[in-house]
Assembly symmetry: C2
Homo-oligomer: 381 residues x 2
């Protein structure tokens, strides 16, 4: 209960504390910041005043005076994507340790939105920005850095001179996935990639092609000639979502004349065919999906059509989000250490107490987590 003597309940300022403790504001500031030498008796008087007033320093004023604020801007592609949210948890943890709060927002992976957001954040005089860049030129980000606000690129392999960056080797990750599929004997692989404009999608395509190229070279070298050459077909989906995965898979099945259930909402699902539909030989024996959400949508569509995973078709995802291991057919996927990534990005931004954070470019390596959704290809005639 505040004493009834102060009806307006105005937030107490350092002046109020000084008056109550009968010292100057400078002294209050000193005990607050452990600066200078304050006599013990005085310190206690000040502390008592602080307690009795419930005084909390005004961080806006501190920020203005010190020229820094505890606000850190975080701009990612999409707030509802588990990859970014698990990373955000890691960032939050690291930021909180330094008393920083994070301002989270999404760029919808649009360079325009990114620029707008960055300008707004800069307007907030943030201490720094964690950005998953949509603009390969990094134009807006450069402006921010020019103003002296550090930017750390999150999930980006770019290595500009003036910004730290942290990334996962997407190329290697995709390569791992395709190698795994080929080692199981798959030669007709379909890649459900994300939008071609997105860097992660581009790199994962390169990685998939790397693995394919290596296999082809090896095979040419052996020149046995009787093995079928592995093939990779790529489709760019409109988004990294389960819905995109499901819809794309449905279209693919329909093109092959395989009946797909129409039930989606508000209708009962027709009984699943008891015998799997005959899959044409041309139908891929394996799908590599650019993230777990796409894999989830693709897998459920397949199963709805009576196609068994992994017996008829194998599936590999990317990310290893929480639900990957919980799917009906636990998903084989390329794991990214999301929490650690977020933590490390924030750590890079905050740097050590003394001096500016050094520019560093960190790269993490993904690992393949083998679960139940991949197996040898079905027998084709």
């Amino acid at each position: 209960m505040p004493p009834s003597t102060t009806p307006p309940a105005k937030t107490p300022s350092i002046k109020d504390v000084a008056r109550l403790a009968q010292v100057s504001v400078g002294t209050v500031s000193n005990v607050l910041n452990g600066r200078g030498f304050v006599r013990n008796e005085v310190r206690q008087r000040v502390e008592a005043a602080i307690d009795s007033l419930g005084y909390v320093p005004n961080p806006t004023a501190q920020a203005l005076r010190r020229g820094v604020s505890p606000l850190v801007g975080v701009a990612v592609y999409d707030l509802t994507n588990p990859f970014f949210m698990e990373a955000a948890s890691g960032m939050e943890r690291r930021l909180a340790a330094d008393g920083c709060v994070m301002a989270l927002s999404s760029t919808k992976s649009s360079p325009t939105t990114e620029a707008t957001l960055l300008r707004a954040l800069m307007g907030q005089a943030v201490r720094g920005i964690l950005l998953t860049p949509s603009d390969p030129e990094l134009s807006a980000a450069r402006e921010v850095v020019q103003r002296g606000i550090p930017v750390v690129l999150f999930d980006s392999p770019a290595q500009p001179e003036d910004m730290s960056s942290i990334s996962v080797d997407d190329r290697t990750g995709a390569s791992l996935a395709i190698q795994h599929l080929m080692s199981l004997g798959h030669t007709n692989i379909m890649f459900f990639n994300g939008p071609a404009s997105i860097r992660q999608a581009q790199d994962r395509l390169h990685g998939a092609e790397d693995a394919l190229g290596a296999a082809l070279a090896m095979q040419a070298h052996r020149s046995s000639g009787d093995e079928p050459a592995p093939q990779l077909h790529t489709l760019n989906l409109p988004a990294f979502t389960a819905e995109a995965g499901r819809t794309t898979m449905r279209a693919l099945l329909e093109k092959e004349g395989i009946p797909t259930p129409v039930a989606q909402d508000n209708a009962s699902l027709p009984g699943r065919p008891t015998t799997p539909p005959a899959l044409p030989d041309s139908f891929p024996t394996a799908f590599f999906c650019a993230n777990d959400l796409i894999a989830f949508g693709a897998m459920t569509m397949l199963r709805d059509a009576g196609i068994r995973v992994p017996d008829d078709v194998s599936i590999v995802g990317f990310d290893d989000i929480a639900i990957a291991a919980q799917m009906s057919v636990p998903l084989t996927t390329v794991r990214q250490p999301m929490e650690e990534l977020g933590w490390a990005a924030a750590d890079l931004l905050l740097g050590d107490k003394t001096g500016k954070p050094r520019i560093q470019h960190l790269k993490f390596f993904p690992t393949l987590v083998t679960r139940a959704s991949t197996a040898a290809p079905r027998h084709t005639s």
Copy 2:
């Protein structure tokens, strides 16, 4: 490219603009804020100076002077829960419209963490706070309000005098789910609820009991006596996650002696039984899960054990997150308008431009979305 004449690249202040435009800072401020009358010629000179300097007002200083900041704190239970993240998207939209940025963090639904967070946010001199309260007493929140910082309770039916709140009628929602199940003929229903300490879980239990009670009363009234009385068993899971749903379902199946696949990670899933295992009559014919994530975990475990959904067992979820409609068996669920909820909460906080936001208590009503995961109960002997 900044002119090479300014090597330190210091952020320009209002003084620099004034000097360049040869006016006083007051005048610059006036053109900035459209206040007072500025001669057209002067205004243009000022605007030119602003452009050439790339001047952006320092919001920290503005906040200090005006006594408000554009930062809005948002504290929810869990950043990786899709319910909160879809809501956060809605909040972001509304907040951005007023030039506000959101500081997102999670309380882990712990009153202690909530208190710490709230204090930190208050320290940030935020303009307001959107909080999903973990502490039923709202102690920390009251402190915040006492300091003159508005708090809007998100996803909370509390109706304190000094805080607005917005909620979805969880009780009615749960009631809808149970009614639906009973109307299909289910009389042995299991409720996979969240932790008992969480308000949402408590309300959903009440709602489920309401529906059951009403059915019982109706049946007693008809007194035909030959119908079996509907029964509801409740289990409190440790968390609102897919993993909790899966684990709990596994334990339940094992208790009944139904074999469950051990494969989880790094192992191939044993072939699914071709004939569904015989389910004891005592095994529930329907499960109501306190959120879609739990439903997802429960459903996949069931299917792994060879139990068919909805033929053998029906499942209802809660929330209607994006993947609910995309599941292999599209999930019947109680839909909450998450984006709208978030938007409305932020709107309540920001209020109209003029004057303080009024205290309001908004309640939304959930709707049942019927999909494929529910059907009439299996035949029991």
